[in-house]
């Protein structure tokens, strides 16, 4: 199957191309990746070729965009103004705002250390990692229960997790473990129900393939 021509290369309105160019050309701050590598202690393994590369799009975009700016500026400004009117949100000034900025090197307090030191985390990331570390600990405990065939304890642990972290970052993993726990406990019907629900709600999840494998293991007639 041949891919269609991308909008940036196809007959499209100038505004469409302008918006797409702006999105494709956006880059993280130049030092951001190094800060992450430092945080994870892998700076030494990062290669030399870490120049700022935009998306795979051939950007002509970023440069050619300058030529188009004059044409598209009025249209964009008008459209942004319209959106602001419609959504009740003011686009705001272009300069700095009063929104508090994160200090990139602020010390973190009460952070549960994860595996490996995370000395340079920003405050917000440290706060998140504290919660994340708790999530990981809960999920790991469930996995230990399952490995030891303590299915009741695993199911209880998952229920606790889902109560305490209803929007948790690892909730999909928790749902996957829940399917495994019910299968292991012999409740294949419940496991199938959870598996179908997972696939319906998370068709693009990286866990979907595993859930489909589990469904296959459970067989077509699990009742």
């Amino acid at each position: 199957m041949k891919d269609p021509t991308r909008l940036l290369d196809a007959p499209a309105s100038e505004l469409e191309r302008h918006l797409l160019r702006a999105g494709a050309a956006e880059q993280p701050p130049s030092a951001a990746m190094k800060r992450l590598a430092d945080t994870l202690g892998v700076s030494a393994s990062i290669g030399e070729h870490t120049h700022a590369a935009p998306s795979k799009l051939p950007l002509l975009a970023a440069n050619k965009g300058a030529l188009a700016i004059g044409v598209a500026t009025l249209a964009t400004l008008a459209a942004v103004g319209w959106l602001a009117t419609r959504s009740g949100v003011h686009p705001g000034p272009s300069g700095p705002t009063s929104e508090p900025q994160q200090s990139s090197n602020a010390p973190s307090e009460n952070v549960v250390p994860m595996r490996g030191a995370l000395p340079n985390m920003t405050t917000a990331a440290a706060h998140e990692s504290n919660s994340l570390a708790q999530e990981i600990a809960r999920i790991d405990a469930v996995r230990r229960d399952l490995a030891a065939n303590r299915t009741k304890s695993a199911v209880a642990g998952l229920q606790d997790y889902q109560r305490d972290f209803p929007s948790g970052v690892l909730r999909q993993e928790a749902e996957l473990l829940s399917i495994e726990a019910h299968r292991q406990a012999g409740d294949r019907r419940r496991a199938r129900t959870l598996a179908f629900r997972f696939l319906a709600n998370n068709p693009d999840s990286p866990h979907s393939a595993r859930v489909r494998d589990l469904l296959q293991d459970l067989g077509p007639d699990a009742r």
Binding site: M1, G23, L74, R144, Q172
Partner: protein
């Protein structure tokens, strides 16, 4: 099902070289995805850091060659969680102009680029999540349909149909934004 790491054993630190490769290959991709999925610019670095913390934590469970797919799925969830936590729609991200942009562009260009991205993000947020994902990967990240199918684990035909639908909606929304411009903007020209 692929065997998993023994959960009773002491968690192993991920192979630093493998983790570094994943960061090097996918950091910018993940950062941009987070942005297009509604993470404000001043939160994007923390969110990307969170994604790769999870990648590092789970590296021993990730099949070789699936690092990008895992980071991608994690990024979608992190973006969703963050947006929920911030509790508001975020098309008009009023952050300071970032250090990278300030290095490269004139103030007028920066303002224009910023506003263009705001409008782009507003339009993207009106697309259904499945369509938006395919649209961003194809139109902005220039991935091929087979790459997208592998990344999000759907058939090639599904990628094509989602892309077709997303393009139609994108064009309609952009045209609507362009057409319904406020009178004071027209008068100001």
């Amino acid at each position: 099902m692929a065997p998993r790491a023994d959960p009773e054993s002491t968690p192993a630190r991920p192979d630093p070289a493998r983790l570094a490769r994943a960061i090097e290959a996918d950091y910018r991709f993940i950062w941009r995805l987070l942005r297009r999925f509604g993470v404000p610019e001043h939160h994007a670095e923390d969110a990307a850091q969170q994604v790769f913390l999870i990648v590092a934590e789970r590296m021993t469970d990730i099949a070789p060659g699936r690092e990008r797919a895992f980071a991608f799925g994690t990024a979608l969830r992190v973006a969703q969680t963050l947006r929920r936590r911030l509790g508001r729609e975020l098309p008009y991200d009023q952050q300071q102009l970032d250090e990278r942009g300030a290095e490269q562009s004139t103030p007028d260009e920066l303002v224009e680029q910023k506003r263009a991205r705001e409008l782009l993000d507003h339009v993207l947020q009106q697309l259904p999540p499945d369509s938006r994902t395919v649209f961003v990967l194809f139109e902005l990240e220039a991935l091929s349909s087979p790459e997208i199918a592998a990344l999000i684990d759907v058939p090639l035909g599904t990628v094509a149909s989602r892309l077709r639908r997303a393009r139609e909606q994108f064009r309609t929304l952009v045209a609507e934004a362009h057409r319904v411009e406020p009178a004071h903007e027209r008068e100001g020209r």
